[in-house]
Subunit: 158 residues, 2 copies
DNA sequence: CCTTGAACTCAAGTTAACTTCAACTTGAAT
DNA sequence: ATTCAAGTTGAAGTTAACTTGAGTTCAAGG
């Protein structure tokens, strides 16, 4: 039990779906670890696959690598996460997703209410109001708008 | 009726909530236009405010500047958009928002179904599956995952 | 031994959407 | 006439999350 306990990077690429360059990058950022072969090539433990799955899931939820790193480090040191670890985390992520959904729905509602008025006059359209206008009258109709956590996709990604 | 028909950049900054640098940038990208004073300073027509409101709203919906530029150019040349223009556009935006909401909800559902299994085993967890796995079995449970249009916020903003 | 495909490193490039900076110039008010 | 806030330009910087490229080395099969 030696040869099959570690996997070369190509294998990890296959099984995880991440590019080799991404794996090296994650390693450089301290998200994953690797041992080295005699000649200096990376040899991964099987557990890195679970870690990578976690990374992908978290990233789908919209966490930054920084945040993901934090969560990974909070996962009681490298043992397999228990069901309660997983439950705690999923609650957190659920919250994130809910926030995002609510924000989008608020936006949609604003949009709908604008169809009637044909406005975009910048006068009192909640949909197009810049942040400070909205902030000024606290209980405004379309108050809030997009939270910081809802901005455009990153172009690099697949 | 001359002095009050054009506005200096500072005024536009106040009224639109965009930074002066953003306004110059938008101009360089052809999203807005400006006349010049004798000495070369920008003088904006009032209508630019409506355009800027449109830009902000579209950007809140998640359109790229490129897309916004397209939509602006499709708005029957610079006249005030009619109610039907606005209706057509808002339908488009609504579609975008709906897509995004659906994607997030699919993700949330996947997350929920994962709580029970405590998985992230990379074996068959729809939530953490990389794209190609999902693509391979077409009618998979959590199929689809995040569309390209749903990736992280851009840090620069506000 | 030789050949090749797989891997390595490190620096630099990519993308969007702006911002910052340095070094002036304008223009409205006193 | 002076002043100074407000405006101008063009180039370079910022951020996240990686990718690309150049030049070199590893490792496994024949």
């Amino acid at each position: 039990m030696d040869k099959h306990d570690v996997l070369p990077i190509g294998e990890i690429v296959q099984r995880s779906g991440f590019a080799a360059s991404a794996l090296r990058f994650y390693e450089s950022e301290g998200l994953i670890e690797a041992m080295r072969s005699g000649g200096g090539q990376r040899r991964y433990q099987r557990s890195v696959l679970r870690r990578l799955a976690f990374i992908r899931a978290a990233s789908n939820v919209g966490l930054t690598l920084e945040e993901i790193k934090d969560e990974l480090s909070r996962l009681p040191s490298n043992r397999t996460p228990t069901k309660s670890d997983w439950h705690r985390i999923s609650q957190h992520w659920r919250g994130r997703l809910d926030e995002q959904i609510v924000a989008l729905e608020r936006l949609k509602t604003g949009l709908e209410s604008c169809i009637g008025c044909g406005c975009l006059s910048l006068q009192r359209c909640a949909f197009s109001n810049p942040g400070d206008w909205v902030a000024s009258s606290d209980s405004a109709p379309g108050a809030g708008l997009l939270p910081d956590s809802l901005r455009k996709p990153h172009p690099t990604r697949r």
